[in-house]
Structures are given as C-alpha cells and as structure tokens.
Amino acid sequence: MNMVQAINSTLDMKMAADDSIILLGEDIGKDGGVFRVTDGLQSKYGQQRVIDTPLTELGIVGMAIGMAVYGLKPVPEIQFQDFIYTAMDQIINQMAKMRYRTAGKITVPLVLRTPYGGGIRGGLYHSQSGESYFVHTAGLTVVTPSNPYDAKGLLSASLDLGDPVIFLEPKKLYRFQKMDVPDEDYKVQIGKARKVREGDSITIITYGSMVPTVAAVVEKNKVDADVIDLITLSPLDIDAISASVKKTGRVMIVHEAPRTLGMGAEISAMISERMIEYLYAPILRVTGPDTPFPYRLEDTYLPNEKRIMDAVDKLLKFR
C-alpha cells in the first residue's frame, strides 16, 4: 500500500481498538480529507468520532487539546501545514506546556497530523516545511515518516506515546511508492533514526521527502554513503548520527526547509560540539533556499541531484 493507505489503515485499526481516538479537522469526514487520508472513516465510525469542523485551525487544535486533557486521544488534522499558524499559540502555549505547567497533573496525549513540504506544485501556501518551528518548542515530539511502512509504525507509536506529537506527512510521498505493510500493529520507535543504506565515505543525514531523492542520487552515482533517515526530528537520535559521523568524518545534511535555523543548523552544531575531531571536512547543508516556496520554479527550489552531487564532490575532495 502507499503512504495514504498506510495512515488510513492505521487510524482504522487503532480506532477499532480504542474508542477514545477521535479525528477532527476540515473536510476529513464526508470528503475523507483533501488528500483522502481519512477516507471512509466517518461512515465507519460516525460523526462523533470523525468530526468535520468549522474552518478554524486554532479551534481544531484547541478543541483537540481540550479533549486530550480529559481522557480522549484526539487526532487533529491541519489540512496543510502552511495553515497552522493561527494555531501556533495553542500549540506552543497550551499543548507543549500543559504537562510542565501542571507538573504532570494534566497531559495532552494527541497526534497532530499535517501534510508538509513541496512537490505537488502548491506554491507559497501549500508547500511549506515548518518543522523547525515545532522542534524549537520544548514539550513537542516531532516525527516524519518517509515510506508507508514507517508511516504506520510511527503513527501507532505516536498514538501510544502519551505526549503531544506533531506528525508531519511529506505530501510528495503520499502516493510515491507502494510497500508491503503488515496488517498487525507494530511500532517504529520514536527517537530512533533508520539507516537507509550503509557506506563508509560520507554521511548524509536527511528525512521526509528528501529520503528517496538522496537514496536515488547516491545509488545512481555509486556514492559510498551512509544515509540516515532521522524519522524523529525531536528528540534527535544523536547516537545514530555520532556512530556514522565517527565512521566517515564527512557529513552533509539534506532537507527541503530553508537553510537558516533549519534542522541542518542544529545537527551541524551538535556534531561540531561533540565530535569535531573526527571531521575531515566542513559540514555541508543542501537545503531549500531562504526564499518563500515558488510555484513554477518548484524544481529549482527543491534540492536535486546536481546540488547533492556538488556537495558530495566537495566533501570527498576536501583536504
């Protein structure tokens, strides 16, 4: 199945087992969501469990928090991550801080799903990669799968975590590949990265939509690269990063989000602080530029084979 089907079937499986799981969002019920991720769930579970809400992102998130603090396990959907900003007050000041400000007496077990990133010709407001906003906030767990198998296991783990999870779905990969996904419940552990392929010369750290891009580029160009799919953006899997960097001594980070204060900035700072003596070359970042996301020039914006290979060459040649 593809990623949309994997997420849909996971929600279905979890909802069948646990009546505290409630879905809410815009057009998610009758319409099944604009990407059809929740297709068929309202007819199966009813309007009380798959709620078509008024058009208010802050209302959706605030209402979900109010459910979560009172024993339910809501899964709010924000139609596009680009639309989430009116809910940022709710996310940063309510969702992320509830456990802390009540010393654990009130908690917010929920999974906020939202499609993010480019690749569908969405222009400025249907393509953003805002992961840094969430990663910067204590109290949030931030994850992003890059294939159908991980999507299922990660969503299952997120629903069982007991804390608020920002579940970022790379919309470019929604129907990108089909995989065998087990019927039974299984978990992809939060906080653990996955090795996409083994190599000894260079470490490429990436996540989300860039995972298949990077994998294809290194395959095609026969780069001896260790490729890491972070899967969890907060908290980062420093052990996986360390092991690879100490092996190769040459590192690059690839992501779609703008470069300034993106994930690459944090990861390179972490590497510099803890293992600079292992490095043979500067840490490089191949990322989206610090511009808004353009409509027609999407392919120019997104990291591509040329930019990735230029960075690979630079790293390997550095003396």
Partner: protein, 337 residues
C-alpha cells in the same frame, strides 16, 4: 418541609458566598501589601470581581469543570481550594502543585476541577469546547465553564470557541468578567457591542448580570447554568464588575483611569452585597465583623506559614517536559546543575 429545607440551604449558600468574598478580599489585600514589601514577586489583584465570580460559583455543582483565568481566586476559594494551595503558588515554593513554574495568579488545582491557566488570554476557551465534547462523549454529568475578561472578546480564540461550541451544541458556559478595563483599554474601545449580545450572532443564549451584587449575580448565573445544563447548548454570561486595583502589581492605573472604585465605597461589591444580604435579614454587623476578623487572622497565619517554605529544588526545572526524559534535557541538566 422540603421548601423549608431549601430555604435554609439557600440562606446558608448566601452566607457562605459572602464569607468567601471577604476571605478573598482579605487575601488580595495581604498579597498586594506583601508585594510592596518585596515578599511576593507579582500578583494580579481580584478586588472588585468577587461578587461576579462567587455568584456564579454558587450556581455550579461539584461535577462542573472550570477553565479559569488569572483573576479567579475568589471562585477558587469558594469552591474549596485551600489557602495553602493558593499561597504556595503565589510564593512559587517547593510545595506549589506546579513546582513554582508559573508567575503568581496562575494556579493549578485539578483536584478541585480547575483546569489550569496560561497567561495568553482566551486560549483556554477552545480547550473548554474540547473538554465539553469529551464529557458529552463519555456521558458524564456537569458543564464546562470558561472564564475570561472583556479584552478576550477581541481574540480569535473567543470567536473560534464560541462558534464551535454552538455548532456542536456543547455544554459550555462562557463567563465574561467584564471589569471595564483590559490593562489600560476601556471596554468601549475594545468592542462596539455589549459583550453578552454577541451570543446571538453565534446562535447561543446570552445573559447579562450585575456582577457587583452577589445576590443578583447568583440569580442570573443560575438561569445561565440551568440553560447549559439542560442540554440546550452553550451560553454566554457577562458579569459587569469593577477592577478595583491595578491590572497587576507592575501596573499604575492612575495613568489611564480616573474613576477607580475605592475599597469600602458604595460601589464596592462587598458593600453592595453586604447591604443586600442585610436587607434580606441574612447577616448583621456582628457576623460581618466576625467574618472579617477571622479572615484576617487565618490569612495572616497561613501567609506567614507558607512563606517559610523554601524554593523548589533546581532539578525540578527539568521535570515534566515529556513523559520520558529525553537525552537532551538530561544533558542540559547535567551542564547547569
């Protein structure tokens, strides 16, 4: 027989409400003075809003949940939150239920059905809608009250929450404590309509009450609570009251307000309520004096007692961020402590 008992219950309810008003006022004055003496860091006084809050609280039941805002100490006292809990929070000491993390006036009292309060105003309102949904979904009794000031009526959270509560027909009572000022901005400059009238536009019932008179407030609050409790959907209850003090102890209201209601003056809700209860024959001067002196004694005693409790252990700063401590927090804790 039942009527006689009910009458007696109602009488006692009024006397108890008035007692909570006095206790709250006494505590308020004590904390304000202590702040000036450098014994307390900060406080948002509640003077002037006692009758509004307690009048509503009298109409609520134990099952009802409250999304309070930072000026709701009178309501908390009336619902039985002990002085110790309130004072521990004000001092941010080791015994504070939230480990001294929030500035004073931001209480946690989950055991008393208060859902805790953040500083950004009106962000509690959408949560009230979600919790009301959860209560209905679980077939639990009780309504959800979300309180806020007049300034909150301008926020998108107010709009979203009012709209959603009405669309989903949920048992939420939106309780606006209109004290006429949002820090320095008078309500006339906040909004062009009376706040309670906004209810109609959302498709819910609206109520306006004299929040300076506990007896009158209670009557209207009971109607609003009954409406919500009966399953007819949410309601908006606006209580007109005064902010007799500054916005906070960091604020000087004389800069923007020339007509501040003075403690003990004719417009003071304690004086108004006291006169009303006297006219009803429920209290006399002797009882008032007794309640006042007893409040002063107990507040002074508890204040001195809780003030002695030391600050929280520095380690607590790093707790309760996630269910399971992350390696990052562990590492940062190691660096700092």
């Amino acid at each position: 027989m039942t009527e006689v008992i009910n009458e007696q219950v109602e009488k006692e309810k009024h006397i108890r409400g008035f007692g909570a008003m006095i206790l709250s006022r006494t505590l308020d004055k004590k904390i304000i003075t202590a702040q000036r003496q450098g014994r307390v860091g900060f406080y948002t006084p509640t003077m002037g809003q006692e009758a509004a809050q307690i009048g509503l609280s009298m109409a609520l039941s134990k099952d009802d949940l409250l999304y309070e805002y930072y000026r709701d100490v009178p309501m908390m006292l009336h619902r039985g939150v002990p002085l110790e809990i309130i004072l521990n929070q004000v001092f941010g000491n080791r015994d504070d239920l939230a480990k001294g993390r929030q500035m004073p006036s931001h209480l946690v009292a989950r055991d008393y059905n208060f859902m805790s309060v953040p500083s950004p105003v009106a962000t509690n309102l959408p949560l009230a809608v979600g919790t009301a949904f959860a209560k209905v979904y679980r077939h639990e009794p009780g309504i959800v009250v979300a309180s806020f000031g007049d300034g909150s009526s301008s926020t998108p959270d107010f709009h979203s929450a009012m709209n959603m509560a009405a669309v989903f027909n949920l048992p939420v009572l939106f309780f606006c404590e209109n004290n006429g000022l949002a820090i320095s901005l008078p309500v006339e400059k906040q909004t062009k309509t009376e706040i309670w009238k906004k209810a109609e536009a959302y498709g819910m019932a609206g109520f306006k009450a004299d929040g300076n008179n506990m007896v009158e407030m209670y009557k209207v609050a009971q109607q609003a609570v009954d409406h919500v409790r009966s399953g007819k959907g949410p309601a908006l209850l606006e209580a007109r009251c005064f902010r007799m003090g500054p916005h906070s102890t960091s604020d000087d209201p004389t800069k923007y307000e020339s007509d501040i209601v003075q403690d003990g003056s004719d417009r003071d809700p304690i004086v108004v309520t006291q006169n009303a209860l006297k006219a009803m024959g429920l209290i006399n001067d002797q009882l008032v004096d007794k309640v006042k002196s007893e409040s002063v004694r107990i507040v002074n005693e508890k204040f001195d007692q809780q003030e002695k409790i030391p600050a929280p252990d520095p380690e607590t700063m790093f707790q309760d961020i996630y269910k399971n401590e992350t390696w990052i927090i562990k590492e940062e804790k190691g660096e700092i402590l």
